[in-house]
Amino acid sequence: MSDPLSRRKLITGGLAAAAGLGGLGVAASLADRYGLIPPDHGGIYGIGETMTYAIQRLLVSRHTMAKEYTPSDISKVAPVKGEPPENETYRRLASGGFADWRLKVDGLVARPSFFSLAGLKQMPSERHIYHQACEEGWSFIAEWIGVPLWHVLDLVGVLPHAKYVVFFGFDTNFDALDKRLINGKWNSIDMSDAWHPQTLLAYGMNGQDALPPGHGAPLRVRVPRQLGGKSTKYLSWITLTDSVKEIGKGWGAGGVERGFSWYAGI
């Protein structure tokens, strides 16, 4: 191989590498800007996770609908994962039929609010019969009755820079000393799923006006385009934020801290 040729190759190679790196940088910043990077993007597994989330966010628009089934499709078996919260507050509220329960909605909203169960039931209610799969592999079809999340978000007035809706259940415990230490179930979804017409704050199931024990009474979210684990149960607090970095370990869900990926549209 002659010298000038290899030098030319070296230069073109170097330019190509620089262009490639520059391209990667531009792609990364564009991906971040358009919300294509999940909170758990770190580490070697983060590469696959980011690919999945980014490609699905590009393919799955805000308007693609989960299949709606008919009442005859409703599964006879609707298994429950996990037990109702053990804490005293929850037990007291449950024994009073959740009459004293309030849902706090705050964060990046114009009008932080508290909602009672009766108040939520007076809002326009919807019934959806859709399929829910657990990431363990089992699945069932059920009817969910509730108010669309978008309706509640409209009431509180979401600020334009909000990027995530974070859900905390009654089984969430905050450490008194270290606020980064959160025990229990909490999760977050992006605005694409939050504004989705089928995303429901459900207070009833399968024709019943209340959620059965184990299915998340008094209120749970239902995110039909993701695995069941994203549909946080026993809700007490919803907050909107532009970043989940300051919540827990910053990975967007308690489940991620236990080894499960944040995005569950799989």
Partner: protein, 241 residues
């Protein structure tokens, strides 16, 4: 390198100079990446499966609902978290590698020249003779080191153009997000649980292929065939091992 073959005394067992090209660089690199990701996909797939080792048919299935097959494995939850992370990482690498392999196989005419069976070979007598030789654990002839027999061709084409595409599609059909974009994907396989069940049997088919593949490589001469898939060259006329 080649000069040593001309040096008197050194050329006796001359290996490199008598080597013939066997596998292209693209085939070799994609082969080993696919092999590694397949191991990753298999391990992580098992980790996900053992969380609920039951198979169903239709849209739904759960403990307490009628199942198709109860695999004789204990329910073991707690491994599907890392299992899913690893499964998706390996799946992305495998799929992107597959695109490179198929793209190059079409443009380089690798599929047409090396894998498309010749019409006269497509008869039961030829195929039966090959199977009979293999069952008797009879080593293939030296001339066969440079080409594939009709059963190898059919097996590779089935893996590349049937099993892999179907296992990718049944995997995607389990995604609730993608099912909302392309409902036909999930419904075409008969529902989410059917897609999961088919995904399982396709992976069993791929495992069977890998077992036979490795056994045949062993029969033909493990060292020389693995060396050919690494260096791209195979010794002509003599067995290196």
């Amino acid at each position: 390198m080649a000069q040593t073959a001309y040096a008197p005394g050194l050329a006796v067992r001359g290996t490199d100079a008598l080597d013939l090209p066997r596998h292209s660089a693209v085939v070799r690199i994609t082969h080993w990446i696919t092999a590694l990701t397949f191991i990753g996909l298999l391990i992580s797939g098992i980790a996900i499966l053992i969380a609920h080792p039951r198979l169903y048919w239709g849209a739904t299935g759960a403990a307490g609902a009628p199942s198709l097959i109860d695999l004789p494995i204990r329910f073991m939850i707690g491994h599907s978290g890392w299992g899913r992370y690893l499964h998706f990482l390996c799946a992305w690498i495998a799929v992107l590698t597959g695109f490179v392999y198929v793209g190059s196989g079409v443009t380089s005419r690798h599929f047409r020249h090396d894998l498309l069976p010749a019409k006269p070979d497509l008869n039961l007598r030829t195929m039966g003779r090959i199977v009979w030789d293999e069952v008797r654990w009879k080593r293939p002839l030296e001339g066969e080191a440079l080409t594939y027999n009709v059963l190898q061709r059919l097996a590779y084409l089935t893996v590349v153009f049937v099993l892999f595409p179907l296992i990718i599609l049944t995997g995607l059909a389990m995604s609730p997000a993608l099912a909302s974009v392309v409902p036909a994907l999930r419904e075409g396989f008969g529902g989410q649980q059917s897609a999961r069940t088919i995904h399982f049997f396709l992976s069993a088919g791929l495992v069977l292929f890998v077992c036979i593949h490795v056994a045949m490589v062993w029969l033909a001469g493990f060292t020389s065939r693995v060396r050919a898939m690494i260096t791209g060259r195979i010794a002509a006329g003599k067995e290196v091992s």
